[in-house]
Structures are given as structure tokens and as C-alpha cells.
Amino acid sequence: MIADLLQFARENYNGLVVLAGVSLLGASSGIIGAFAVLRKRALTGDALSHASLPGLCIAFLILRERNLTAMLLGALVSGIVGIAIISALGRWTRVKDDASIGTVLSVFFGLGVVLLKIIQNLPSVGSRAGLDSYIFGKTAGMLRSDVYTIAAASLLCLVVIIALYKEFQLVSFDSDFARSLGWPVYGIDLLLMSLVAAAVVIGLPNVGVVLISALLIMPGAAARFWSDRLHTMLPLAGALGFFTGFIGTVLSATFDQLPAGPIIVLTGTAIFLVSMLFGVRRGAIARYLQHVRFRRELAQMRANGLGPEGSVAT
């Protein structure tokens, strides 16, 4: 592992910067994603990422060059359009949420793939565009300035989450109560979705459209097995996201014929599975041990002729 890391740093002049960038992205999307899951908006992140592909391609078609900022802005705009369509469908028609999310996700993604093929067939720029890396992600060949953009955006997201921790917690747990206290629930929700959108968009170049939502969802879901309190769960989700990005980047540098996204996501899956088994709060083993202990106590109580809470059984 360490040898891999050193080799990675030697071979890529900006390898360590990439590593830091993706790890930081993992940390911030882990924390943001944890809130998105608690607010039951996990699928929205998935829809958003798939819906971002056409915007990305359109930005490229307009500029005819690979300008990361412009393409990510395009991605953000079409992602937001996708979300807007989902919420409009929910509001004005009788289409259910999951159906409208599924529809928008596949229509936008299909459109994106078509645009991608058009770009690749352009005589002058097509072959150099390298846009197919946005589908499954790519960490090698990133520019240092790209990484700085990602790092700055991740840090900004982190600062917002930490500053508004109390508000996000309240709205995620009980939005009606929050509203009765006078909190602008709609605005806070909108801010949370903007953070999700930001995490998705800055993660696109590395993890790709298809799998970025896994980076949002898995660290929080894994952290839940270790903790019963948001207070500890969120930093843990950040840490697990950080290591997912870190290990995934190192591994994808080792297997450079494979796209980065799937490797990062598989790393996240491994962390999730370990948490599911060994997590001290809700992990499978912890639950089994609790169950065994409870049965033993029960047998003991019966043997002593005691009922619940020490009352004497009749």
C-alpha cells in the first residue's frame, strides 16, 4: 500500500495534490450526503448527477474546448433543470416521486450520451475531448487547477454544513416543528440541495456521472452502523468518505486501465460492508451479540423466578 502510494506520487508530478483533492471531495460529499439521506433526498442526488450530463456536453459544444469551470456550470444548470422537472411533476401531475425521478434520470442521461457521441464524432475536437471520462470518472491526468477548484468548493461546503448544523438537524428530523418555530424550512432545504448539487458537480470529473451518488450515500450509511448520534455520525461519515476517496485514488492509480469511479465506489462498498458487519451500534455482529446477551439474561431471570423489572412472576 505505502509502496503503491510512493510510486503514485513519483509517477504523477501532481499525484499528491490529486490525492488530497479527491479525499477532500470524499469527506465533504460524505457529510452532505449523510444529511441528504436523513432528509430522504438520496435519490435526488442520483437524479441530479445523471441530469447533469447534457449540460456538461452543451457547454463543451458551445465553447469547443475542455474548460472545466464552464462545463461544470453547464452540468449544474442542467442538473437543476432536472430537479425542477421532478418537483414540477410531483406538484402538478399525479406521477409519484420515484417514477418521476426515474424518468428524468434516464431521459437526461440518454440525452447526455447522445450529445457525447456527437462530440466524439466532431472531426477537429472530438478525439481530444475526453468527455467519456465524465461517465465513469478519471483521476489521472487532472490539472492542478482542477484540484484546487475541487478542494476550495469542498471546503466551502464543509464550512456551510458546520455553520448550519443545528438548522439542518432540526429540519431533517421534524420539518413541521421547525416551521412552527419560524425557521424558513424551504430555504434551508434549498440550501441543502444546493450543497448536494455542488458536491455532485465537483465530483463529476473524478467519479463520474453514474457513480457519484454512491459517494454521497455510502459514507453516511456506513457511519450509521457505528453511531446513534448525528454529532458523531457526521464526522465519521466525513472520515469514511475521506478514506474512500484516498484509497480509491491510490488503487485507481495502480490499475490505470480501469476508470476511477468504479474503483472509488468499490472501495466505498468495502467500507460499507465492513461497517455493516462490525459497526458497534447497528452492525450485524453487534446486534447478534445483543440478542444472545438478552436471551441469556432472560433465561437467568426465568431461572430466578423473576419477571420484567425484578417483579416476581406468578
Binding site: 448550519l164 428530523f173 419560524g182
Partner: protein, 255 residues
């Protein structure tokens, strides 16, 4: 002239053009322990939510202490239905009670030691002091109901809206909740609660609002909670009404 505590004026609420509340007027001028009663679909929860500004009204106006609800939120407490939240949420009991202080805290500020002490005190009031560090999903239904009550107490409000605070609660817990409500009432607060069990209304509440989309009657329990009004509210379900009027008689004998 003193302002009424709660003034619900001409309130109409409709879902998809179907009215669920029609032209409802309720004015409460003195501190009361008030029950909102009515059959299923009568708009009881809707009345509370409309009064709190949680759902839009088609028409009408609600004033609390003579002002629009928006400007007196600090003085209004709320106990939502227990089923309205996910009890698997990763917070402990004290975290939930602390949420009652968030209205006072405002943006960015975190609850301090003083707020935590106060939240712990509110938990003691509902008999859950030793559960402060438990994850909320480990509590029984009645305990969860009391956590919501403690959170409302933490709001230090003057007017409380409670949506079925007694739902799924055993008799002992019900008495305990009412002891807390009576204490609030004795301190000059007003409580307005959706209540289902007609038999216990005369025993616990000194004011009733009988609702069935339209307002049937509102006033002090002894003059308003009559078989006649109940029949108008519930239609012809007599078994239910008999039980209620028996309870009423038992209560007046006891006085």
C-alpha cells in the same frame, strides 16, 4: 381591552378544492385547557396546522395575543403527532428536547450549558430524566410522546398546540401528561389539544371545540359538551355518545 389569546376568524382550508375546514371561528380569551373533538376527517389537525401557519388557508385570519402568528412564534409551542417523524433518526432524547430551544437561539448559535440544563429539567417534568442519553428509537410510544411534550415545555411558550398528545398512551402516562398540562394551565398558559377519547374530556378539559368541517360549538365544557352538541358533531353514533354523556354525569356528580 385585553387581546384574546387565540382568535381564529373565518378560517377555511381546502385540499384539492375539497374543503376540510369551513368558515371556522374560535376565540379564546382566558387561559384554558381546551380539547378539539370531532370525528375522523373533521379537520382537527388541520385547524391546528392552519393556526400555526403550517398549511395555507383559503381564507380567514388567525391572531395570537392580538398579533399575526408570524410575529409571536416565540410564544407558541407545538406538539406534533408522534408518527410525523422518523424515530430511527440518529439523535438522543436530550437532543430532541433541546430543539425546543432553537427558536430562541436563532441562526448559527448552539445550545449552551444553560439550555442543556433547562432541557434536562423539562425531561424531569415528564419523568424521563434518566433517559436523556438514550437513542430515541429505543423508547416506547408513550415515552416518545412525553419527549415531544418535554420539547414543547422547553419552548417556554404561553400558548401550546398539541396534536393528539394522548395517542397510544397508557392510562398512567395519560394521567402524568395531564398533570403536566394542568400545571401549565395553573401557570396561566393555554393548551389546545386534539383529543379522541370523549369519555375523558369532561374530566381533563375545561373548554371544548366541537368540529366537523364546520364549527359545531365552542365553549366551556359544562355548557358545550352536551349530548345535543355531540350528536350534531358525530351524527348518529349513539353508543359513543352515551359513553360520553355518562362520563359527563359522573364528572358532575363528583363535583
Amino acid at each position: 381591552m385585553t387581546q384574546p389569546i387565540l382568535d381564529i376568524h373565518d378560517v377555511t382550508v381546502a385540499y384539492h378544492r375539497r374543503p376540510v375546514l369551513w368558515d371556522v371561528d374560535v376565540t379564546i380569551t382566558e387561559p384554558h385547557l381546551a380539547a378539539i373533538c370531532g370525528p375522523n376527517g373533521a379537520g382537527k389537525s388541520t385547524l391546528i396546522k392552519a393556526a400555526l401557519g403550517l398549511i395555507p388557508m383559503a381564507s380567514g385570519e388567525v391572531r395570537v395575543f392580538g398579533q399575526p402568528v408570524k410575529s409571536v412564534r416565540r410564544r407558541i409551542g407545538y406538539v406534533p403527532q408522534r408518527e410525523s417523524v422518523d424515530w430511527d433518526f440518529p439523535v438522543n432524547v436530550l437532543d430532541v428536547v433541546l430543539m425546543g430551544t432553537y427558536g430562541r437561539l436563532g441562526w448559527f448559535r448552539r445550545p449552551g450549558k444553560q439550555d442543556r440544563d433547562w432541557a434536562q429539567h423539562c425531561l424531569e417534568k415528564v419523568g424521563l430524566a434518566s433517559y436523556a442519553r438514550q437513542q430515541i428509537g429505543q423508547l416506547s410510544g408513550g415515552q416518545q410522546q412525553r419527549v415531544f411534550l418535554a420539547r414543547a415545555l422547553a419552548q417556554k411558550a404561553d400558548l401550546y398546540f398539541m396534536d393528539e398528545p394522548m395517542a397510544g398512551v397508557d392510562a398512567a402516562t395519560e394521567r402524568m401528561i395531564f398533570d403536566v398540562l394542568r400545571e401549565l394551565r395553573a401557570a396561566g398558559k393555554t393548551i389546545i389539544a386534539v383529543h379522541h377519547d370523549l369519555r375523558t374530556v369532561p374530566h381533563y378539559f375545561d373548554y371544548v371545540v366541537l368540529l366537523n368541517v364546520r364549527l359545531v360549538a365552542a365553549g366551556p365544557t359544562e355548557t358545550t359538551f352536551t349530548p345535543d352538541n355531540l350528536r350534531k358533531t358525530y351524527g348518529g353514533r349513539l353508543a359513543l355518545l352515551d359513553a360520553a354523556s355518562e362520563a359527563m354525569q359522573a364528572e358532575s356528580r363528583a363535583l
